[in-house]
């Protein structure tokens, strides 16, 4: 199978904002069409991805240990964590809802941690292994990214509805803050990773191609 030409060898660079193939002969810092900053590869991709990922991982602990909401029914208060919410549905026989919440809140972040770590480690080692599959893995991580926000929205809606003073009252608890932070940071982590690194051959000095420019915009 013949491989199509690669943009870097042709002196081209993809603009991530408008999709234009930009001519890099004069090393422009901005896309001539839309003005977005141009990078041949995302700036400090690996370091940033690691940083966001580790942050998310740290927040993942309180997100699962701290209660996400407090349910008060006729005087009795009870805190519930994400996992206890899943179990509650499971025991009540609603296995389908239990499964949705389990996938969105526990499986998706878990899969993202494992997948992004795998991508980072293999790219660092210049691995040739399963490149196409790793590309697909990255796209999968991007797609599942925001579904973990599900629990935040459920807690918000439930807490805003059940407000019957002494009879029944549901309040959000700090766990949900950490949980939301996990989602935001794993999304930032996935966005910072540059999937083109999977395909890059590194014959000589690495990272000489990086154009340092402002922040995360790409």
């Amino acid at each position: 199978m013949t491989t199509p030409p690669v943009a870097r060898e042709l002196g081209l660079c993809l603009c991530h904002s408008c999709g234009l193939a930009c001519d890099m002969t004069h090393e422009p810092h901005e896309c001539e069409r839309c003005g977005a900053p141009l990078h041949r590869r995302k700036t400090n991709s690996l370091t940033r991805t690691w940083a966001y990922l580790v942050t998310a991982l740290v927040f993942y602990i309180p997100a699962n240990l701290l209660p996400v909401m407090n349910t008060k029914m006729v005087g009795h208060g009870a805190d519930s964590t994400i996992m206890s919410g899943v179990l509650e549905f499971w025991e009540a026989g609603a296995w389908d809802i239990a499964l949705i919440i389990f996938i969105a809140s526990i499986a998706v972040p878990g899969v993202k941690f494992v997948a992004i770590t795998l991508l980072l480690v293999t790219v660092k080692r210049d691995s040739q292994w399963a490149r196409k599959e790793r590309s697909q893995l990255y796209r999968f991580v991007e797609v599942i990214g925001y579904w973990s926000m599900l629990d935040v929205i459920v807690v918000a809606l439930v807490a805003s509805l059940v407000k019957f003073q002494a009879l029944a009252d549901i309040e959000p608890r700090p766990g949900i803050l950490f949980f939301g932070l996990v989602v935001v940071f794993t999304m930032l982590s996935a966005m910072s990773f540059d999937p083109r690194l999977i395909w890059d051959e590194k014959p000589q000095a690495p990272h000489n191609e990086e154009v340092t420019d402002e922040a995360t915009s790409h």
């Binding site: 491989t3 199509p4 030409p5 690669v6 943009a7 870097r8 081209l12 660079c13 993809l14 991530h16 904002s17 408008c18 999709g19 234009l20 193939a21 930009c22 001519d23 001539e32 069409r33 839309c34 003005g35 029914m73 549905f89 809802i97 949705i100 919440i101 969105a104 490149r131 196409k132 590309s135 697909q136 990255y138 925001y146 579904w147 926000m149 599900l150 629990d151 935040v152 929205i153 459920v154 918000a156 809606l157 439930v158 807490a159 805003s160 509805l161 059940v162 009879l167 029944a168 959000p172 700090p174 949900i176 803050l177 939301g180 932070l181 999304m187 966005m191 999937p195 083109r196 999977i198």
Partner: protein, 198 residues
């Protein structure tokens, strides 16, 4: 410079291809990494603008009518999307209320305003004022607009509460359902086509 316009670069592996014209239901994939390069988009400008205006109406319904109402022993209560954001904003966790507000309310409405602005001018064959700015914001907002997650969240909340009190889905929920589907259709990447035709 102009010669690079018909080229397309795979964002996942940097391969370069020439653009092709697609027929209905067709898409092109990168031969090296399997990523989607181009996807057929059947919407004309007029259709897209019409759908965007519809989405704006639905956004108004989804935000000003309760998503659901509940009753327990004669007591009633209902909540809109904004009420649910406020419920999160109490106490030390205000930050997450901001994230939720952006994801459910602010990002979608900004997307809609930008689309209407850009498409309205595009209809007369012109680039709108601040065209570059608007198009770049449409790209930035896309990953943070989470209406489809919001819809699933609302449905899970309905089922969660139905266990111990009476729940009635409101107009807001139905509006939200249609709005989230519309947003997938109108606010996707196809909008980049405007760069080529204007």
């Amino acid at each position: 410079m102009a010669t690079t316009a018909p080229l397309i670069i795979c964002e996942h592996c940097d391969c370069v291809y020439e653009k092709v014209t697609l027929a209905k239901h067709q898409k092109t994939l990168c031969t090296r990494c399997g990523g989607v390069l181009q996807r057929y988009d059947g919407l004309t400008l007029q259709q897209r603008l019409a759908l965007t205006l519809t989405a704006l109406m639905l956004w108004i319904f989804a935000n000003f009518y309760p998503v659901m109402s509940i009753s327990l022993k004669g007591l009633k209560n209902s909540a809109t999307l904004w009420d649910s954001v406020l419920a999160l904003s109490l106490g030390p966790i205000t930050f997450i209320a901001m994230v939720a507000a952006i994801a459910m309310i602010i990002a979608p409405i900004f997307q809609l305003f930008l689309l209407i602005w850009v498409l309205g001018f595009a209809l007369s064959g012109r680039r709108s004022p601040a065209f570059k700015f608007c198009m770049r914001w449409l790209e930035t907002l896309r990953p943070w607009s989470m209406l489809e997650v919001c819809l699933l969240g609302a449905m899970v909340a309905v089922i969660k509460l139905a266990g111990f009190l009476d729940v009635l889905p409101g107009i807001g929920l139905f509006a939200l359902a249609i709005l989230s589907l519309l947003m997938i259709r109108i606010a996707g990447r196809d909008i980049r086509e405007l760069w080529d035709i204007l």
